[in-house]
Amino acid sequence: MPILDQPPKFGRRSLLKLTGAACLTTAMPLPTVAAAQTTEPVKIGVIIGLTGSAAVAGNDSYRAMQLGAEEVNEAGGVLGRPIKLIVEDDEGRPKSGVEAANKLADVDKVAACIGAYQSSIALPVGRLLNEKGVVWVTDATTNDLKTVGPYLFNVAGIAEQAVALVDFVKADKAGAKKLTGIFQNNPIGQDRAKVSEKRAKELGLEWIPALLYQPGATDFRTELQQVVNAGADAILTDIYDSDAPIIQRQLVELGMGDFSNTYSYNPGAYGTLEPNLIEGIKGLNYITGGIRAEAFNKKFLEKFGHIYTDAWGGPPFYDAVWIVATAINLANGLDRKKIRDAMWPAAYHYLGVSGNGDKGFNKWGMQASDQYEKLAYKAGKMVPLSKGPENIVVFRYSDDQGTPLSHAPSEEQNQQLYPGYKP
């Protein structure tokens, strides 16, 4: 059982994190070991879709990174030097993303790269940067990320966690027998549909073929009717960005505005909509939680005038900047391999704002565990389903039981994990 519905334990690591968090929240200088040789900024590359099909999440993500970089610099920067983000637009085109990665690695000679909201960009960029030996931190979510190599890190969990929502539906909706879903026809949507179908069947539920909708299209009416009228007891939805308002609107206009059986993978995506478009939707939101989250949200709102629309497009990237900065400090230099190895301890001891703050990596460089909270839209507001610890869902991956590593895997381990990897 990969899922354990339990509150986070208050153990050794949490204590460690609390002290770390105290440092961070009071903007104490980070422990820098090396004496400052130069004040020239340390460059960190960013590859993100500022234009194109994922531009909304992409821009929010970059804003979160800017916020992170600003805080790191306020706290004294890395190695006594400020960090500087060099942002490249991937236009939503893999070709453009790889070009940007080549430029960042070879021309700007960045210490590490962060970015890619879309898997079709995260994967080729990841392969390239692994070859070049540059740390690549992404929050894309396809399961294939695990195969890329030791320089790839994921800060937001991968598609396997989709089982959590199916479990939630089964627990929440007594007597639900038939499930179906509405998924974006892209890497994450296809992965989640597959994982959900498998999980539903494992739980003995019937799965009606899901709707995979074309992102960016304007007319979903007929297919929405098909899926809603298929007689499912609950509909799982995985809808993002600009598709959420249009799909909700068309559902309401077609008289299918009863959302009491809608369960979302990403309820945050509905946050900016009118109450009558969302009333009753429940879901598992990727937690922006932990003791620093409130401050982060407040700062984001103050600085940019709005809140990020998507729990994946923002907070994880803010954490990524902090983790990379900490890793550079721990590596005590700009050696890319040392930075890579420092990523594990950096994340292990770091207390972030996404996924309830627990950011430790497993041996694959993926999130060891993810935390979600059960949410519901009531009276137009997104509220926790309940107040107690049972409202938090901790998802642990099956391959390592959710154990984060406090130190990097050895090169021998890496060679076992990634066939063809050469140190």
Partner: protein, 289 residues
């Protein structure tokens, strides 16, 4: 310094791939008058065929051959529907075929990996150099071919089907040959693309990629191999060069990113406005009767 050289080598490789696609397109549109709006489909089938072959344990060379073969087959398939369809009609038809291929690649996960695409785990040493060498060979081949009787005949087709028909040429066959050759070059480009990107996904197959290749051909000069080279380098320079400009301005990153693409769009428009025949137009030769 050697890192900078690495970036140069990467650009050489990726530009060579674009150049192959542009030459393939020019063979069709600049010489034979076939308005192919679905050019990216050759890259798509070539790259997928290569990636699938590699995934099933094939070696790099046979995999590239599969890519070329896929390009040729698709070229033939497209040319069957050409027949005597004219300009824009054939253009949208080819675009539709390319989109159908992309949508199949997006949804048939057992074959193509769906939206997640296919990763290529094979590393080829000196790949950018191999690609550049192949591109030179293709350039040479196409240059020779265009000077040959075959080249002259397909240029006749560009001006209309009637004259070559009157001369007893089998126009459909010639168009099929041109499309097969174009498909082979495009398929080769696709095979190299899969090896170079180490990945192929439906996002690489969107119509915008076709339009960028079109811009290369038209900006450079249809029917002139040197024009195509210049056009490809120039458009690539627009895309890559503008990345270096963005650091100079102090405006929000999203606005800047959008303005970068606005600049690229305007540059393409301006070049075509002032050189409608391309920067290096085709030299019209008069052959003695």
């Amino acid at each position: 310094m050697d890192q900078l050289a690495n970036f140069g080598i990467y650009l050489m490789g990726i530009t060579s791939i674009s150049l192959m696609l542009a030459i393939s397109l020019d063979l069709q549109v600049g010489n034979c008058g076939i308005v192919n709006f679905g050019q990216v489909v050759f890259l798509t089938v070539g790259a997928y065929a290569t990636a699938i072959a590699l995934g099933r344990g094939s070696g790099a060379v046979p995999a590239v051959c599969w890519g070329v073969l896929a390009g040729v087959l698709f070229g033939l398939l497209m040319s069957i529907s050409v027949r005597n369809m004219s300009g824009t009609y054939w253009g949208i038809l080819s675009l539709s075929l390319a989109e159908i291929v992309r949508i199949i690649a997006l949804n048939e996960r057992w074959l193509t990996g769906g939206a997640n695409g296919i990763s290529v785990l094979v590393t080829v040493q000196y790949l950018p150099w191999i690609i550049a060498g192949s591109t030179l060979a293709v350039l040479l081949l196409v240059g020779l071919l265009l000077g040959s009787p075959f080249g002259r005949t397909i240029r006749l087709i560009r001006e209309g089907d009637r004259l070559p028909m009157a001369l007893g040429k089998n126009v459909l066959l010639l168009k099929m040959e041109t499309m097969a050759l174009g498909g082979a070059i495009g398929g080769l480009a696709g095979a190299y693309y899969a090896l170079m990107q180490r990945y192929m996904s439906p996002d690489d197959a969107k119509p915008i990629e076709t339009f960028i290749i079109w811009a290369m051909v038209v900006v450079g000069g249809r029917g002139n191999v040197w024009g195509i080279v210049l056009g490809t380098v120039l458009i690539q320079a627009f895309y890559t060069g503008t990345r270096f400009l963005t650091g100079l301005f102090d405006i929000p990153a999203d606005t800047l990113a959008a303005l970068r693409l606005v600049t690229i769009g305007l540059l393409i428009t301006l070049v075509t406005m002032f050189r409608p025949q391309g920067l290096l137009p085709e030299r019209r030769r008069i052959y003695p009767l």
